[in-house]
């Protein structure tokens, strides 16, 4: 069992911040910079960490995780870069459309589910689109340490290549950019071939890219321990369903466009969470009784646990059926 002290409230500790800059980078991506309202330095963070940004959008509170992409050596600001998702649940649209310089916001202490393995002799970064963000912090860290790295960055077009110019200007020999609209693609097999022993590869991007890298590396004999990935899932909408929470002794309704975790929070249940994206395992909840089908979408539980019907990750997974009773 974890030795961590029990916290009074779920989620990581919070930091009150002010939006100090809003920098549009291209038609889809904008950088948001935060400074602390109490004037203190930010807590140090390790490259690859994310923060959960709290967005008060009218009646609704949104909590979305974003990778910290500022320099981990600079504790005067935190910065995130957000891609606008017009088909998404609205968190990125809220940030793009409503958030202005000077606005007060609340973010959480950083949590790192995608750290550098500093035992690595060399670090190869594979980024797809907005998946570039954690690597900006990692590159800043390794540049300071004198670590060996290279970046292979695939984006749709030069126009949508977030930070491409800055990266290629600063690190012309280490950054390799591939534009989809010019039919350029990462030559993964050649890239994996011949890397020195002790090389670690990190991938952040769409699910297809992550699966491709894991499968190709395994086929080339790379140990799982040397292949790292991060993918935050946004909760998907689904049919509304009813859940009985037996510890809290209430029955709640989960709406079409909210997650089970969000529904619990709306009803005043203080459920544990950290990443809200199916990756960290913090919100794992025991199923007491169920009659129906689970829609598991997390990366945390293994296939056997998914099939057992005894556990659910309420941040991204849903349920279709008659009754669901959770130990919460």
């Amino acid at each position: 069992m974890s030795a961590a002290p029990q916290k009074a409230k779920a989620g990581a500790e919070k930091i009150e911040v002010t939006v100090s800059a809003v920098v549009p980078l291209n038609p889809l991506v904008t950088r948001f910079e935060f400074t602390r309202r109490d004037g203190q330095p930010f807590p140090p963070f390790s490259a690859g960490a994310h923060t959960v940004v709290e967005m008060r959008d009218g009646e609704r509170t949104r909590l979305n995780p974003y990778s910290l992409m500022s320099d981990p050596g600079d504790n005067s600001i935190y910065a995130i870069s957000v891609r606008r998702d017009d088909q998404g649940r609205g968190g990125s649209l809220f940030l793009h459309n409503k958030v202005k310089v000077g606005d007060p916001m609340t973010i959480t202490f950083p949590v790192n589910l995608f750290p550098l393995d500093l035992r690595g002799r060399k670090h190869v970064f594979l980024a797809g689109g907005i998946g570039i963000t954690p690597f900006l912090a990692m590159i800043a860290h390794l540049e300071r340490m004198g670590g060996a790295w290279e970046l292979h960055y695939s984006c749709r077009s030069r126009e949508l290549g977030t930070y491409v110019d800055e990266l290629t200007y600063k690190h012309p020999n280490k950054v390799h950019v591939y534009f989809d609209d010019q039919d350029q693609a990462i030559g993964l097999e050649d890239l994996l071939d011949g890397q020195p022993l002790g090389t670690h590869v990190y991938v952040c991007g769409p699910k297809g890219m992550i699966d491709w890298v894991h499968a190709t590396a395994a086929a080339h004999g790379w140990p799982d321990e040397n292949v790292h990935s991060e993918e935050f899932l946004a909760p998907q909408p689904g049919k509304p369903f009813e859940v009985r929470l037996c510890k809290s002794d209430i029955t709640i309704q989960v709406g079409e466009h909210e997650s089970l975790l969000e529904a619990m929070e709306r009803c005043g249940v203080d459920a544990p969470f950290l990443c809200r994206g199916g990756a960290c395992g913090q919100c794992e909840t025991d199923v007491v009784d169920s009659d129906g089908d689970f829609v598991h979408r997390d990366h945390w539980l293994d296939d056997d646990e998914h099939a057992s019907g005894k556990k659910i990750m309420p941040c991204v997974s849903r349920f279709v059926g008659k009754t669901l009773v959770l130990d919460r």
Binding site: L192, G194, L197, G198, G221, P223, E225
Partner: protein, 202 residues
């Protein structure tokens, strides 16, 4: 019969598996004595592996028993060494030239596997990715926690440290860094009161 089932023990004690063919660009196989049988079994599962394999074999007491059978597997490189100490320079050279996609297979005694695993880890391979299979002697490589001297091939408990002469109790507490179990003085409180040595696992 070269296989031995170790009884369950503390978390520190290494556990060994059964070598299985894994995809890889190159295959480094290091075995001593009866460990050769694990390589022969591996070949029975996937003979094609050996076209890109480098076998480093230390026969110890088995003499010529396995040498020709291993050679017949057709490894890309085959080296028979008189001892681990004589082979370690070669192991280091192979690892320093190696690239990602190398698979490491270790078989034989605990001392051989532990030391070779240590070299592979220092070369950057995570220890969980290094396959091991115990065969042959259950003798242990022991470190005296008092003088730090290493005694190889310990087969009884207690035993006498070959460096400082203390009577040492054989513990399951293992150091991956030293590739050795710990031996602790058994008669410190009452010098001379030493239990009769018994053979390990007998």
């Amino acid at each position: 019969m070269s296989k031995f089932q170790f009884p369950p023990s503390i978390a520190s004690r290494p556990v060994y598996g059964t070598l299985e063919p894994r995809p890889g660009k190159a295959h480094l196989m290091i075995a001593d004595a009866e460990g050769a049988e694990a390589l022969l079994d591996l070949a029975a599962r996937d003979a094609a592996l050996f076209a890109t394999a480098h076998i480093i074999f230390i026969p110890k007491g088995t003499g010529e028993t396995y040498v020709e059978r291993l050679r017949a597997l057709g490894p890309a490189q085959f080296y028979v060494g008189p001892s681990y100490a004589a082979s370690v320079q070669r192991i280091r050279r192979v690892l320093s030239d190696a690239h990602m996609g190398l698979q490491v297979y270790l078989a034989g005694t605990e001392g051989l596997m532990g030391q070779a695993q240590n070299e592979a880890m220092q070369a950057g391979i995570p220890h969980g990715a290094i396959q091991t299979e115990h065969r042959g002697s259950v003798a242990r490589r022991m470190q005296c926690v008092h003088c730090k001297g290493i005694t190889e091939d310990v087969t009884t408990d207690p035993f006498v440290c070959s460096h400082c002469g203390l009577n040492l109790f054989v513990r399951d507490h293992y150091s991956r860094r030293l590739a050795a179990f710990q031996g602790v003085c058994i008669d410190a409180e009452d010098p001379g009161n030493v239990p009769e040595p018994v053979e390990l696992y007998k």
